[in-house]
Amino acid sequence: MEPPTRSPDSDFAGRKVLIVDDDRLNIRILSGILKSEGYVIAETNSGEGALALYPTFKPNLILLDVMMSGINGYETCREIKRVYGNDSAPIVFITAKNEADDVVEGLAAGGADYLAKPFQRKEVVARIRTHLRSQMLAEQQKLLVEQLSKANASKNRFLGMAAHDLRNPLASIRGLAEFLRDGVVGPLAPDQLDLINTIHTASQSMLRMVNELLDVATIESGELKVLPANHNFCELIEKCVYLANIDAAKKNTHIDFVRPPNAPTAWIDAAKMQQVVDNLLNNAVKYSPPGSKITAEYRWNTSEFSFGVKDQGPGIPEGERDKLFKDFGRLSVQPTGGEKSTGLGLAICRKIVDAHHGTIVAENLAAGGCEFRVTLPFHL
């Protein structure tokens, strides 16, 4: 017997190979080669034997003869693939040289490769190593994906917990600042009022950011539930426009919205869609230069309805479009009034719209500025 071409590869030593062949001589040759490489070997002379040995031996690789009495190699291969699925050990067929048809049928049955007789030691070793390596990589990858998704779930739990615990104190700070501002506990001097207003604005914006983080944690952990009912979407838009116009007025902009008559009711989760409408309106206000105009619009046809917001802001920089609806996808454009953002708002919008089976798109307008449009089907 030839000496080993190299010392046993420690990565693969101890890996288990099942040899299935009804020719004792073949088994002896293969077994000799593989044992010298440090593999653990089990042998059987039939397909039935292979199926019986598989669950207890749990091989990492199978060398499988094609022509055997009883069920042949292809049948055995198909059965193993059927029972153990994609996680089953790779199967390498043993074929006579130049049997192209055997090779094709073997691969079609789910085989990973083939070895032609008579065996070349170097070829046997190299091919088996290749398949064991890719099998090990697949195992490692699977493990890594599992670990990553666990880490991601912990991140979401942490995010949710942190945001949740921050929210109550923030709500108190904001509310108590409002009581002070409103003079409930006595009148304030102008500079005291100024400080209180700063506390109020800061806590308000922190509360919004914390809520966005909490939304993302909820959505990412798969807990976003849409509870749709019949709602007057048009009326909802009108209310949101009214509120957003308070902030718009501070920046000397205005949102125009002409409520169309006879708008049909829509099957939506009103609270969630209000979040989308608020977000699009607030974004338009945030990025609009003073003195510019914002136009909101609601329209519908027989199958779908849509809500659009056009502004005269800087538009979406080319090359940053793909970031727009992604988590933390803040663009290079700056809010015109120094407003804060988490970069989560549009990502949340997209997820809410997705949950309504709708679409959200953004386009730059020829005249400058951009338009965001949400389109939802009438029936989910």
């Binding site: 109550n168 104190p169 108190s172 409002e178 009581f179 909490l214 909820t218």
Partner: protein, 126 residues
């Protein structure tokens, strides 16, 4: 609001109690009794016999749901409104199923908190 009874406010966070009791004061509620946990709430309920209980859902030791069940066992006619900061509707639905009259999210603007309390009282004590 023509309401002259007392209100029991239960929350483990002192700043929330301070905040909400200011809202109640502005609403014109004459007597606000505070409790910082479920056990205290049960004792205070028996002593003060309040017309309305504002009850936090997530509290250590005895949470809002447990407290709600005990209050309802004690007095099936008790009027309980849950205070919540939760996004998940499950615990809210559970509280409503166990006899809570309404729920209020603590992070909504104070005008809305006041409105929800007023509506509950108007509905109960017209």
């Amino acid at each position: 609001m023509n309401f002259s009874g007392s209100i029991l406010l239960v929350d483990d966070e002192a700043h929330i109690r301070k905040y909400v009791s200011l809202i109640l004061k502005q609403l014109g509620a004459p007597t606000v009794v505070e409790a910082s946990n479920g056990e205290e709430a049960i004792v205070a309920y028996q002593k003060a016999k309040p017309d309305l209980v504002l009850l936090d859902i997530s509290m250590p030791l005895m949470n809002g749901l447990e407290t709600l069940k005990k209050l309802k066992a004690l007095d099936p006619n008790s009027v309980v409104v849950m205070l919540t900061s939760m996004v998940n509707r499950q615990s809210i639905d559970e509280a409503l199923a166990h006899g809570a009259s309404n729920y209020i999210r603590k992070d909504t603007p104070k005008e809305e908190i006041a409105k929800a309390i007023r509506e509950t009282l108007d509905g109960q004590f017209q």
